[in-house]
Symmetry: C2
Subunit: 215 residues, 2 copies
């Protein structure tokens, strides 16, 4: 059974949803029979490769309202992250375009390393302040999880996997995905948003119980 | 206390989240002290005013995959709608651009009729097959809930409230809203996605319990 997860690597709600899904899978009796499939979704396809300053700088400057409000809203995400062992450091995060990150995730999927690269990209962006749109950063993170450096560079220097990213995004639109994270269980049942582990576990169970008998 | 809801009138997950919020408010001890504020979010700002055919036609034609798969995914939303008394009829829905619907919602908010118009627009689009981007349809729906026809036409024929829509959307981006529906309780606590009533009720309760003492 598959669980498809449309998400973006700069989306804190996706990072939380990823953790909630892991919790749900730990509690699911048939998790060995579940394959999690990363599907691409760019929150901001027009983002520059790398933004000036940190995410917090960017939010404060662009929003033009009380920095304390932004801090408090981020604080809420930080608190949720803390509960699931995710260290969100928005003061250090360096946002940017995620198209190349998504292309590398498709390469990683072909090499059986998607789960590892998802984790590495999330940690790099949210915790370590690595610039998510920067090619050499992406190359470092991808090779750290075991991808071949030559192959990674070949992808980054071409448009390889661009069609896979765009195909995922086209499907998201057609499936009425209204935001990420977005979960589809067994291609039949969907859940929108960073739903708690209980809800995701119920989705897993319901999809499992109602799947077609093996032919 | 406020609950701000970023949403779009053509988003089935938003419609479900709206119902879940209503359920949560029915169970919340202080719901008389809660003001729900509609915030604008266009899922597809570049959508044409009115698409050819129904939503289902559009999805089948554009996706180019088994219509049964689309039907099943829609069926899941339909089933959830049924549980909360919402009759989703995607075979009849006539999608289109929602910018004018959002402008009218801001007019309705100024006249104390936002809740009524939200409900009317959702029903018109999801259940009655009314073309959501069509001016005369919007005028009909808005006057049905008690808005003044002359005022409604004046808004539709101008760019009044456009700045309010764009301001909501700018805030959504800055608040790291990764999709809709998106709930913010008391400007401090957030929930992403069509979260179940239990989760929204917990958000209401937590925001209430932790709000600043009255000065």
């Amino acid at each position: 059974m598959t669980v498809e997860v449309w998400a973006d690597v700069v989306c804190p709600w996706c990072r939380l949803g990823h953790a909630y899904l892991e919790q749900a899978l730990e509690r699911f009796d048939h998790s060995d029979d579940v394959t999690v499939v990363w599907r691409s979704f760019e929150l901001d396809p027009l983002a520059p490769r790398q933004r000036e300053g940190t995410l917090t700088d960017h939010l404060v400057a662009k929003l033009g309202r009380d920095p304390q409000e932004i801090h408090e809203l981020n604080g809420m995400i930080v608190a949720r992250g803390c509960e699931v062992g995710v260290d969100f450091r928005f003061d250090e995060a360096q946002p940017g375009n995620t198209f190349d990150a998504h292309r590398l995730l498709h390469l990683a999927a072909d090499r059986g390393l998607a789960a590892e690269l998802v984790d590495r990209l999330y940690a790099g962006y949210f915790t370590e302040g690595r610039p998510i749109g920067d090619s050499s950063t992406l190359e470092d993170l991808a090779t750290e999880v075991g991808l071949d450096g030559t192959e990674v560079r070949a992808v980054l220097q071409s448009d390889r996997y661009a069609d896979r990213v765009r195909q995922d995004e086209a499907e998201a639109r057609e499936l009425q995905v209204s935001g990420v994270p977005f979960f589809v269980f067994d291609r039949r049942l969907a859940a929108s948003g960073a739903q708690p582990a209980d809800v995701l576990l119920a989705g897993l169970q319901q999809a499992w119980d109602s799947r077609a008998p093996a032919s």
